[in-house]
C-alpha cells in the first residue's frame, strides 16, 4: 500500500514536463508533491493542501497553518522581530539566511504567538520547512522557549507544529543546546500542570524529534510524515541493510507505540479543539498536583 504513495509519479504519463509547466500561470495551478497530479490552486487550498486525488498532505507555510487552524482573526504573533546572527561566523551562512528570508518573507523558520481554537486560547508555535529546512538554530530555540515561558506565565496550553530537518549545522553546538533550552522551558511549563500538544508534520527529524517534538502530553502526527532520529541513509550504511519503505513514517511510529494518533489535516482542528476543551474544564486543582 505504502509504495503506491511515493511510486505514483511514473503511473501518470500525462504529468507535464518542465516546459509545459512554465505555461501554467504562476499561482493558478499546483502540482501534488505526492502523486504529481495538477490541480487548481484554489481547489488545493480549499482542501487544506491535501491532494484531492491521493490524499497526500503537502507542505504548507507556517502562516497557512495558522490560518487553517485558529479562529479567524484571533492570532497575535509574538517575537517576530528576532533575527539570526552568524554566531560562529560560519562561511556563507548569512547569505543563505538572507536568501531564505527573501524566499519566504519570514525572519526565521518558526512563527509563534497566541490564538484561540474553537474559542479556547492557546500559545502556538508553527515551524516552516521552507526556511532552511525548518532547522533549529538559536532563533528557533529562543522563540519556542519564549512562547513556552509566556504560556506558563499566562497559564495557557502550548501547541507546536513541528517541521524540521533537525539542528542547524551552521550554528554548531549552539543549535544542539537549543534542544536543552526548549526542553528545560517545557519542563517548567509541565511542572505548572499545563498542557503541551505536539503535532509532528513532514519532516520532523534529528534534534527536533529528539527534543520538544517528542515531549507532548499528546504526540500526534499528520499522515505519511517522515519522523525519526537518524537519517535513513546513515542507518542503512550503519546496519548494512535496506530499510522498509514505511520506515520512520507517522504510521510506522504509531505502530511502534510512539504516537497517540495520526490525524488527517481535515480533522486536526476539531481534535485540538476537543482536547483543549477537555483540558479547560474540571480536573484537580493546582494545589492537588505535586
Amino acid at each position: 500500500m505504502f509504495k503506491d504513495m511515493f511510486g505514483k509519479k511514473k503511473h501518470y504519463k500525462s504529468t507535464p514536463n518542465k516546459q509545459s509547466k512554465k505555461e501554467v500561470p504562476e499561482g493558478l495551478m499546483q502540482k501534488c508533491t505526492g502523486c504529481g497530479k495538477i490541480f487548481y490552486r484554489k481547489e488545493i487550498y480549499r482542501n487544506l493542501f491535501v491532494c484531492p486525488h491521493c490524499d497526500y498532505h503537502m507542505t504548507i507555510t507556517a502562516y497557512e497553518r495558522v490560518e487553517q487552524l485558529v479562529d479567524n482573526g484571533s492570532f497575535e504573533e509574538w517575537n517576530e522581530d528576532i533575527q539570526t546572527k552568524n554566531i560562529l561566523e560560519f562561511p556563507h551562512y548569512q547569505e543563505k539566511i538572507e536568501k531564505d528570508k527573501e524566499k519566504t518573507n519570514m525572519n526565521e523558520a518558526i512563527v509563534t504567538g497566541k490564538a484561540t481554537i474553537d474559542g479556547e486560547a492557546a500559545a502556538i508555535a508553527v515551524m516552516d520547512s521552507n526556511f532552511r529546512m525548518g532547522s533549529m538554530g538559536a532563533v528557533v530555540g529562543e522563540k519556542i522557549a519564549r512562547a513556552v515561558e509566556e504560556a506558563r506565565i499566562q497559564s495557557l496550553p502550548f501547541i507546536i507544529f513541528t517541521a524540521s530537518g533537525g539542528a542547524r549545522m551552521q550554528e554548531g553546538v549552539v543549535s544542539l543546546m537549543q534542544m536543552g533550552k526548549t526542553s528545560v522551558a517545557l519542563e517548567r511549563h509541565s511542572r505548572a500542570g499545563l498542557l503541551f500538544v505536539s503535532v509532528m508534520t513532514h519532516p520532523t527529524t534529528g534534534g527536533v524529534s529528539a527534543s520538544f517534538a517528542s515531549l507532548g502530553d499528546y504526540n500526534f502526527a499528520e499522515p505519511r510524515a517522515l519522523i525519526g532520529f537518524a537519517g535513513r541513509r546513515i542507518i542503512e550504511q550503519t546496519i548494512r541493510e535496506k530499510l522498509p519503505k514505511d520506515f520512520q513514517t507517522s504510521e510506522f511510529l504509531l505502530e511502534h507505540g510512539q504516537l497517540d494518533q495520526v490525524i488527517h489535516r481535515h480533522e486536526l482542528r476539531a481534535v485540538l479543539g476537543s482536547l483543549l476543551d477537555i483540558h479547560s474544564t474540571g480536573g484537580e486543582t493546582d494545589e492537588a498536583r505535586t
Partner: protein, 320 residues
C-alpha cells in the same frame, strides 16, 4: 601497541632517537651523555610546542584516542565503592551507558556515563559507546532513583552519538533522548555533567542536562561529527578538518560561547598519558562544583538551571 597521532609524530620520533642513543651508550659503551642531554632538552621544548598548539582537528583525534580514559576509568579514580546497576526495566540493558551508586569523598552519589570499549572486542560489546533507547532509559531510571534518595548525580559524556540503527528507531530513540532532556531539567538534586571525550550531538546531550557542564581540555562537543558536517555541507567527508574548525567544537570554543561552566585542563599530551594525574586535576573541580550546588536550596538550583539554558544562544532583534 601505542597509538600515535599524526601531529605528535615528531615527538615520538625524537623520543625513539633518544632511546636509541641510550641503548647505544649501554651496549657499545660509547659516552653520548652530552648528545642525549641536548636531545632531551629539545624534546621537552618540542612536546611543549606540539601539545600547547593543538588545532581543533588534533583535539578531535585526541578525544577519540583509543587509550583515552573512559567513564569507568574515571569512576575508579574519582569515586569509592562504585556498584554498577543494570537495565531499564522496560526492554534491556545497554552496555553503552553505565550507571550505579558510589561515594564521592564520602558523599553518596549516582554516577552515569557513556562507556566506550578499549579494544575491538570490548568496543563491539559496548557498541562503540553509542547508546540505544534502553541506555537513556536506564540512565533516567537511575537519575530518578538518585532524586528519590537525595543523591547528587555525576554524568560522564563520551559518545560519537546515539546509535543510528533500525531497532533504536523502533524503540523510540528520539523519545528516549527527549524525555531525558526534560526530566533532567527538573531533577531536584545537583547534576554535574563532565564531557570527557567526544560529545556527539543528541546522544551526548541525552545525559547532558545539568547545573554544571564541565569539559576536559581536549574533549569535543558538537551537533554533528566533523566528517558528517563535511559530507553534508561540502559533500565530501575529506573536509572534516575544515568542518572541525568552522563548527567550533573544542573546549575553548565552548567556553567562549558560554556553554560550558568550566574547562578542566589536561596534562601535557592528553589525559591518556597519565590517568591518575588527570583524575587528580578533575577531582577538586568536581568537589568545588558539588559544594557550591549543595549549598543552594532546590528551588534556587532549578531556577538557576533554567536560567543557564535560557541564556544559551545569540540573536539580533530590532526591539521597538
Amino acid at each position: 601497541m601505542k597509538h600515535v597521532l599524526d601531529f605528535e609524530r615528531p615527538v615520538i620520533d625524537l623520543r625513539e632517537k633518544i632511546a636509541e642513543l641510550k641503548k647505544l651508550t649501554e651496549e657499545k659503551d660509547i659516552d653520548l651523555t652530552e648528545e642525549i642531554h641536548t636531545l632531551e632538552e629539545r624534546l621537552e621544548n618540542l612536546e611543549h610546542d606540539v601539545y600547547t598548539n593543538l588545532k581543533p582537528w588534533d583535539r578531535v583525534q585526541m578525544a577519540r584516542h583509543p587509550q583515552r580514559p573512559t567513564t569507568l576509568d574515571y569512576i575508579e579514580h574519582l569515586f569509592e565503592g562504585f556498584m554498577e546497576m543494570h537495565g531499564d526495566r522496560l526492554y534491556g540493558d545497554d552496555p553503552a551507558i553505565i550507571g550505579g551508586v558510589a561515594k564521592f569523598e564520602g558523599t553518596p552519589v549516582t554516577v552515569i556515563g557513556h562507556q566506550r570499549g578499549k579494544d575491538t572486542k570490548d568496543n563491539i560489546y559496548r557498541n562503540f559507546g553509542m547508546p540505544h533507547p534502553e541506555g537513556y532509559r536506564k540512565a533516567l531510571r537511575l537519575m530518578k532513583q538518585a532524586e528519590k534518595f537525595g543523591r547528587p548525580i555525576f554524568t560522564f559524556i563520551d559518545t560519537k552519538g546515539a546509535y543510528p540503527g533500525k531497532a533504536a528507531e523502533e524503540r523510540g530513540q528520539s523519545e528516549a533522548i527527549a524525555r531525558n532532556l526534560k526530566e533532567m531539567a527538573g531533577l531536584k538534586v545537583p547534576v554535574i555533567c563532565v564531557v570527557i571525550g567526544e560529545g556527539g550531538s543528541g546522544g551526548a546531550l541525552g545525559i547532558g542536562i545539568g547545573d554544571r557542564i564541565l569539559m576536559l581540555e581536549n574533549a569535543t562537543y558538537s551537533v554533528i561529527s566533523p566528517e558528517g558536517a563535511a559530507s553534508i555541507l561540502w559533500k565530501d567527508a575529506a573536509y572534516a578538518q575544515q568542518a572541525a574548525e568552522s563548527m567550533k567544537i573544542t573546549s575553548y570554543d565552548l567556553q567562549d560561547l558560554n556553554i560550558i561552566d568550566e574547562l578542566v585542563p589536561e596534562i601535557l599530551g592528553g589525559a591518556h598519558k597519565d590517568l591518575e594525574r588527570q583524575a587528580e586535576l578533575l577531582k577538586p573541580v568536581l568537589r568545588k562544583e558539588l559544594d557550591s550546588l549543595s549549598s543552594l536550596d532546590v528551588d534556587t538550583r532549578l531556577e538557576e538551571r533554567f536560567e543557564k539554558y535560557k541564556n544559551i544562544g545569540e540573536y539580533a532583534s530590532s526591539e521597538i
